[in-house]
Symmetry: C2
Subunit: 420 residues, 2 copies
Amino acid sequence: MSEARGKGFKELIRVDTALQRFFQTLGEPSRPTEQVPTLDALGRILASDVKSSIDIPPFDRAAMDGYAVTAEDTFGSSSTNPIILDIAGRADIGRETKARGGRGKAVTIVTGAPIPPDTDAVAMLEYTRRPKESTVEVMKPVAPGDNVSKKGEDVQKDSTILRKGTLLRPQDIGILAGIGCTTVKVVRPPIVGVLSTGDELIQIGDNLEPGKIHDINRPVALSLIREIGCTPMDLGICRDDRQAITSALKDGLSKTDVLIVSAGTSVGERDIVPSTVNSLGSPGVIVHGVAIRPAVPTGLAVVNGKPIVLLPGFPVAAMVAFDTFVKPLLNRILGSEATPVPRVKARMLRRAPSHGGLRTFVRVKVSREGEEYVAEPLRTSGAGIISSMVKADGLLIIPEEKEGVEAGEVVEITLLRPIK
Amino acid sequence: MSEARGKGFKELIRVDTALQRFFQTLGEPSRPTEQVPTLDALGRILASDVKSSIDIPPFDRAAMDGYAVTAEDTFGSSSTNPIILDIAGRADIGRETKARGGRGKAVTIVTGAPIPPDTDAVAMLEYTRRPKESTVEVMKPVAPGDNVSKKGEDVQKDSTILRKGTLLRPQDIGILAGIGCTTVKVVRPPIVGVLSTGDELIQIGDNLEPGKIHDINRPVALSLIREIGCTPMDLGICRDDRQAITSALKDGLSKTDVLIVSAGTSVGERDIVPSTVNSLGSPGVIVHGVAIRPAVPTGLAVVNGKPIVLLPGFPVAAMVAFDTFVKPLLNRILGSEATPVPRVKARMLRRAPSHGGLRTFVRVKVSREGEEYVAEPLRTSGAGIISSMVKADGLLIIPEEKEGVEAGEVVEITLLRPIK
């Protein structure tokens, strides 16, 4: 790999290899759990399978308004030749049905009411007539079980309704509520600390003195952590000083489960983060310099069993590194799969260059042309240009094996916002 | 439309017509705003355009480690014929650069440091040699502006960086932090109340007496509201009694911006919600019975300018109605576009039936077969079967104009979970 492409790194490690080495060194994550009320569990990850202790529905119930009957009584009925049945009471919702059916009898019933004893089907109201109070005329045959929701047809008692590792969506909260489950055991999300380094960085709200810039990576990383469902911890800004970084890292490691450090991660004289991390414990930095663009100066480290990710200082590179390394790490710790990401196929309007051997992230504009989507690389593409991530409609990821994408090629784009 | 298909409704209204009528009756939403700290604004909707009061970067700065030079000095240089320049000091990050350049001079510089006066390019460290302390040999020419991030090249002072209506993503928080914006004006999310009706319903945790079932729709709707970024308000369960529903609705209208009522919305004798809503004020129910399956007994109402959505009692129908009517309503109130939804193209393994004229939601299993996705309808498909929404990998929406989807057809599936 040429010097320029390696940015001073002797060797760039493939993304897959880097992740594999990182996860292997970390070993299986211990996954602390906690019990939370079901109604607060949206977006949390189940820590164990959930079985139902009841049937849903808990009893046979009417799926239609009409009359609970013995199906056999209705055979051969039609509108010209209705079967006449005696009304034997009514079944209401929300209470046990006292009325009983039996041959020649019908029980008035509404949707959701328990099916009365000695009936096996519901004749729909639409296919009945009620010439007088005491009888009903059924004009269409029903088979046993017609218009009846059988006990347990939705959820069977003792069946597993949700698996460990499920990210709880609204419908999952619904089924948990349906079985009367008041609390669930979920994964306690890791605390993820974010430390920015750099003598030039100031906090949002601080005075912009000459030579200073506002820290961007920390707010972005804290937001990304929150989006994934982990607990962000702001560890502030640290100046480029070995002692200051050492104590900030030690403090961070003591308070968090995962540590993210931004900037100072390359191979220049001022890039003291990797060697400082190494001084804290073994194995230290296990991956430094990744075949990914932009984000070559990414580092992956493990100190005292805790993962540390070193993000490049340039904001676009930091986001790419977060997406590629931190997201899979956090999903692994949570024990969940990544949620599906919105993607579209789009035809490239211009060539997007990439270096073979490097996984390349290209920020693109996406628009519709008739039925299809078209995409083109943003003209401003520096790794330091945060506005390019704001303006981009999507990301094109060019795999290591490919050298650029040609105009006219149809590619898959990860959408960053809705396309008009 | 046949009686069975209309479920007792005289006429079913198309989804598009229903939404149009609903939004027209409601008029333009008033959109209250609030000021929140930028770092807490993730997922909120911007209430006004944001302009930058500064340039990013705020000064010309080095994009590489190396030497700030006068580009013209380096013309014609090569490794065999380097140009020798005098070291005129160094430029550090985080402070104003005191050193000055000029013809024949070079200033040591690191990435991010302000470009010194009287220099116009940075010669990369990799293409220099430093035989002694006082001079540097440049081995490759640079053009003016090379390896320099120009002041304002990312964000120009006074330019609009984010538009009103933007849902703030991590990169948006990043650019807001970058311009030093401490608070932003965002839309105050509407309070959305959810009331369940039904004599059979009990709360999660209540004793499951004969004839009772746990309320599912309310927990699901409250979760969906939270997911969209609105403020859910639990209005509890109300029994099927006109007086009780009247007072619950009045109470709900006084406390919320949007009211959602579950069940009792069809045309049976026990479906007293629509007429009760009508008794509260005009225009009342403006859409009742929609050409959508499952969710025909959906109602849309406006009372004293406030929107009320009547959801069918069956949980799957309620979710479909929420997705089709409540989601667009809430996005309209928030003034934001719906976020993109993950979709894939899949080949149908079996036929999925639908009724022409009704927009039909089919729950499907999705899997991979080599490079492609394949889908098939779930076998259990009743509108009351909440477990079908839990088991489904995706939703196939068959438009009104189509009668079913054939085996072998390639369709678009909205994913409900990641596919292995």
